[in-house]
């Protein structure tokens, strides 16, 4: 008997053309999440049904539970569209439960209105049948120790006891394509995850200053992408060297402006790359705060360097919330590895917290910016990171 896993999805507001696109994209993403398994994904009365080998059920469930757009999933058993068959299956499933879980309820959803019994009737018939066989069972609608769910489909009835939460959100790829500015820190991977949750397909850009930083900091970016790629098919990661730019800034510009100048250059490089890769928005791990790069003035001056839309999914989150999310997404332990992506040698002791655009632009005018950008873009190394 192959394992059957029912996958639920749905933003409630989905309708019309949007719904069709949503379903198609989700089906593609489910298929790609299951590419390592001999599994099939079928559409079914507002759900997907995955069939695959029983011995790989748990791993399949684990992969499916990371696909954006999935609200929840359940391993299900199938019965024919016949009340007796449904009763027998229910008996078997409940018979395998540990006896101390004795408070129960039944929840029926009848998608197929041709089935002769309406939902409340099925609940009642099935409930009393189970109680006849297992006198220990007590109906408890408020705090049941288990819920037996029944879904009446068009070909079959589906019974299940378990519901595994998915991440929700929208299927990756449905809202467009964006570029994540990925440092090695805690914030940017979470920002990427949240952007993907809203259906954005991502590429990532990582800046390094080798040989002033270790190759291991680049490996860290790869590892972070690998974690994020668990929720999509793959993430192209572009790595760009800032070494020469940093040397130039160091010799041409005041130390306290180096960070803001560098961030503006990063955005320009991201914009250049987006044009080449046809990406529509930038995603950053920026948040509003009091330290140098997080002041409203800093963010404003940084953002003025590009005409692109910048998405900042972390804006409403506190540090603790970000850390919790990073832990849940499993990027935290990679992020805290001690390999810096920017060498301390280039970090000013007292960066300007309220930079003035004109001042910054004056210094930029002294740099041979076009050549520097072109050279940096030329250093791009791209790898396609798969989960």
């Amino acid at each position: 008997m192959p394992a059957k896993i029912m996958v639920r999805y749905g933003e409630i507001a989905l309708k019309g053309k949007n719904r069709g696109q949503f379903e198609q994209q989700l089906q593609r993403n489910l298929n790609s999440a299951l590419k390592d398994f001999p599994a099939t994904v079928k559409r079914l009365h507002g759900r997907f049904m995955v069939s695959g080998p029983e011995e790989q059920r748990e791993t399949m469930q684990q992969r499916l539970s990371k696909v954006f757009g999935v609200v929840s999933l359940s391993p299900v058993k199938e019965a024919g569209l016949d009340l007796e068959e449904i009763k027998q299956l229910a008996l078997e499933m409940v018979g395998n439960m540990p006896p101390e879980r004795n408070k129960f309820r039944i929840k029926t959803r009848r998608a197929n209105k041709d089935f002769p019994h309406p939902s409340p009737e099925i609940n009642q018939l099935l409930g009393s049948y189970l109680q006849q066989h297992f006198p220990r069972l007590v109906v408890d609608l408020k705090q049941p120790s288990f819920i037996l769910s029944v879904e009446i489909g068009y070909d079959k009835a589906y019974l299940y006891l378990e519901r595994i939460a998915g991440p929700g959100g929208l299927p990756v790829g449905i809202t467009g394509r964006g570029l994540l500015l990925l440092s090695g820190g805690i914030d940017s991977p979470v920002a990427g995850w949240l952007a993907m949750k809203r259906g954005l397909a991502l590429e990532a850009i990582h800046f390094h200053s080798y040989p002033f930083t270790s190759r291991r900091s680049q490996e860290k970016a790869v590892d972070l992408c690998r974690k994020l790629a668990l929720s999509c098919e793959s993430i192209p990661l572009h790595m760009i060297s800032l070494t020469n730019i940093q040397k130039e800034l160091r010799s041409q510009c005041p130390e306290d402006l180096s960070i803001i100048l560098l961030r503006r250059i990063m955005l320009r490089l991201a914009e250049l790359l987006s044009a080449r890769q046809k990406l529509q928005a930038l995603v950053t791990g920026e948040s509003l705060g009091q330290v140098a790069s997080q002041t409203l003035e800093s963010i404003t001056v940084t953002a003025k360097s590009t005409g692109m839309l910048i998405l900042r999914p972390l804006l409403g989150m506190d540090k603790k919330e970000i850390v919790d999310k990073a832990t849940a997404v499993d990027t935290y332990n990679i992020s805290i590895l001690p390999y810096e992506d920017c060498c301390t040698l280039f970090l000013p002791k007292n960066p300007v917290t309220r930079p003035k655009l004109e001042v910054v632009e004056n210094y930029e005018a002294k740099l041979n910016l076009d050549d520097l950008l072109e050279e940096a873009i030329g250093s791009t190394e791209t790898i396609i990171v798969k989960s």
Partner: protein, 386 residues
């Protein structure tokens, strides 16, 4: 770009002969040495040959060689094995502050979880322990002293003869363990003159395979095994033998040990030409540890004031030169090695230290080139880093 590997104290490139031999044994001599049939006999023969080969560096007693997974396991077996087995004789252990982590952390474990008292000897600016200080520490309660032969970061060669005779005079039943991972097959191992009881060796430091090493244990020395199993290696290291790695270790030891004296002289000359070329280029640097002529022939540790080790390392790497940093740039604050810290150097020297370590694969031309490149990198970085 030519590749110049000057990180031979970390690990060495295996000899092609060793790679071929390991591969042949892996593919053809796959029997379990404990099997009764000829496949087993054949495999056992490989181990026997390697054991003889390695015993030739000691007193030719092949029953004194216990094969392990490497230097770390050899140190663990020696230190934990000796301390636990001999705890009825006393509770005091002695080591130095500049030992390898696989030695130091065994002692810390014994101190923290097994109730032993451990004394960690300080060293002078050259990395040498003071034998007189050691003598005063050893008493009838002392059961084990562990001192390394050659220091892996600064190349200090400890006066083992003096140490051995002083501790044995104080208490003849003290066991003396020597971590010889950096000196095995490179320098003479005078186990009798040192009055040593145990000595740790590793294959991959002498162009052999990783995951292979041994502990030489003088006959009559009692140890408690770390693992329990099927009785291999005189029950001190059970588990089916890693036949290809052991065979490779045997061959690598033979090849490295051949003409040991001439090779040592050649390595010493390489180190000196590296040092002199660097001097001629006129950049400022310090030598850490013993004077160049006195440290082990293949190791030199230098500091380049003002330049973080890791930045220097990566800049040399960019030019195809591979070395080792005395300080890792962890979490924005440099963490100098415990060995350099024990030398009581100032912060600047600790954070700018690099180790260059040579092998028979390096030649005169290479090391002079490497020295010239080092000088150039130092000059360039000093211009950028204010």
């Amino acid at each position: 770009m030519t590749e110049i590997y000057l990180d031979n104290s970390a690990t060495t490139r295996p000899y092609p002969e060793v790679i071929a031999h390991v591969s042949r044994v892996q593919g053809e001599i796959y029997g379990n040495p404990s099997s009764m049939h000829e496949k087993g006999v054949e495999a056992e023969k490989q181990i026997k040959e390697a054991r003889w080969r390695i015993a030739s560096f000691f007193s030719d007693r092949e029953d004194e060689i216990i094969f392990t997974s490497g230097g770390t396991e050899a140190n663990n077996l020696a230190i934990k094995g000796a301390a636990k087995r001999n705890r009825n004789k006393g509770n005091h252990l002695v080591t130095s502050l500049v030992e390898h982590p696989s030695v130091l952390n065994c002692f810390r474990y014994l101190e923290e979880y097994e109730g032993f008292r451990v004394t960690y000897l300080p060293v002078d600016q050259q990395g040498l322990i003071d034998p007189e200080q050691l003598k005063k520490l050893v008493d009838k309660n002392t059961i084990l002293v562990s001192i390394m032969h050659v220091n892996n970061e600064i190349g200090t060669v400890q006066p083992l003869k003096e140490i051995g005779s002083l501790i044995k005079k104080q208490n003849p039943s003290v066991l003396f363990h020597v971590d010889a991972v950096q000196s095995f097959a490179r320098l003479p191992l005078k186990t009798n003159e040192w009055q040593a009881d145990m000595l740790s060796c590793s294959a991959h430091k002498v162009h052999g395979p990783r995951g292979s090493g041994c502990l030489w244990v003088r006959k009559g020395t009692l140890l408690q095994p770390l693992m329990h199993g099927g009785g291999q290696e005189k029950e001190l290291r059970p588990g089916t033998e890693n036949v290809p790695a052991i065979a490779g270790f045997g061959l690598a030891a033979r090849l490295t040990g051949e003409n040991q004296h001439q090779k040592a002289a050649a390595l010493g000359n390489l180190k000196l030409s590296f040092y002199r070329t660097l001097q001629q280029k006129g950049i400022d640097f310090y030598v850490n540890g013993p004077p160049v002529e006195e440290s082990a022939v293949h190791i030199i540790n230098l500091s380049f004031s003002g330049l973080p080790s890791e930045v220097l390392l990566h800049s040399l790497e960019e030019r195809g030169i591979y070395v080792s940093a005395g300080s890792a740039c962890h979490s924005r604050k440099p963490e100098p090695s415990h060995i350099l810290q024990a030398l009581d150097l100032d912060r600047d020297r600790l954070e700018s230290a690099l180790r260059f370590s040579f092998s028979c694969y390096n030649n005169e031309q290479e090391v002079e080139y490497a020295a010239a490149q080092t000088a150039e990198v130092v000059r360039e970085l000093r211009a950028i880093i204010r």
